[in-house]
Symmetry: C2
Subunit: 207 residues, 2 copies
DNA sequence: GTGACTGTACCAACCAGACGGTACACCACT
DNA sequence: AGTGGTGTACCGTCTGGTTGGTACAGTCAC
């Protein structure tokens, strides 16, 4: 068992949701997946809602931390680009990024699972997400670049999350790469002083 | 009771999900909302999955119809712009567009409710959505404009759906309008012949 | 036209299983 | 002996789905 039983349980819950859907997130199933009895599980999370709250809050906290890590303040659009990078790097269960995080001891890799669980069980548990988005939107709009461009980058990132959440086919690799490059370029050059800005595309710009 | 009992039931289910969340989508609750007994409900939809399948398929069909209506083929990017318009016009339960559709006899207004129900209950019911997205992505990539731009428009649209699905604050009206105008402009001017395209912004372009 | 029969629409009552949650015993370690 | 952590057993409720009907409109042979 890992140093932190809570993380073990959250990771088990995330795996379960990723594999079998939010419907199958039952206390019994989570306990089994985490190799724990239901009693043991309920010692760490007082209720099912509490467990989902843990998933959601961990997700938000991890995303915030990722943005923080990627952000190099100073240049306009830095926060927006960090937001983009954090989205792209988000560890979707079943991918390399997932396994990497899982193995590196930086907490469980959750992907969209917490969102799915909250939507399925109790939408009011999404309140931390709503609150985080208010904060993120504020940061995007005051990032030194055109707020419309920053918001489009955000929406496109949300689109990537949406794709993960409902299990759509991921974009083909080259297209995905080109899209990210384009968004990144847009968040670099969209000066807020202009009313009408252009979003230059530079598909092969290295990171 | 409306001419079509199935539509009545689907609308009731959508209202229920919008009001109380996908968790509350029980056969008893849907029956009560539709003023019907559970037996009567199960006469029209053989199972709960069948009901959710109805929600999902109706959603996809309505969206397709909306795109079809908005699309004026001929100019490059026409399909992409129609996709954008269909997203923006999608009747979210509880809004004007919702009530309008509901009253106009064009079938129930579903918003994201079918997606939420499928995510919550049985992700495999999302297969029609996945299939639709494959089709939509093909259309976007062969719309006579730069595929990267078209895909970004799609992702931003998905972001708007995501916002609806998890109940985030909608964008402030002016920003929302500016974002849509910008996306629309991008889907108008991004010629596919160029490797690197620009996305001119024209925030006050009338529709 | 009338009685036998059929198909559609709906309903009330019930059931078996799943699920969240509780109670409490147990055990290792300090 | 006490505390953190875990396991077992159980309970009440919820819920999807089944069963066995009712009501009634249509239709078709006679």
């Amino acid at each position: 068992m890992s140093a932190n039983a809570r993380d073990t349980i959250l990771a088990a819950a995330a795996r379960l949701i990723a594999r079998e859907g939010a419907r199958r997130l039952t206390l019994d199933a989570v306990a089994a997946e985490a190799r724990l009895s239901k009693g043991g599980l309920l010692y760490h999370f007082a209720s099912k809602d509490d467990l989902i709250r843990g998933l959601v809050e961990t997700l938000v906290a991890q995303f915030d931390a990722e943005v923080e890590t990627n952000s190099v303040p100073g240049t306009p659009g830095a926060w927006t680009r960090a937001y983009l990078d954090a989205t792209v790097k988000a560890p979707v269960p079943g991918t390399d990024a997932h396994a990497t995080r899982e193995a590196s001891g930086h907490g469980p890799a959750l992907g969209s699972t917490g969102i799915a669980a909250a939507v399925a069980n109790n939408p009011s548990l999404l309140e931390p997400v709503r609150e985080a988005y208010r904060r993120w939107q504020r940061n995007l709009e005051s990032d030194g670049i055109d707020p419309v461009t920053a918001t489009i980058v955000r929406l496109a990132c949300d689109g990537l999350w949406y794709t993960d959440l409902i299990g759509l086919d991921p974009l083909p690799g080259p297209l995905n790469h080109a899209v990210i490059s384009r968004l990144r370029a847009a968040a670099t050059c969209a000066h807020r002083t202009e009313t009408a800005t252009t979003l230059p595309a530079d598909e092969n710009q290295p990171r």
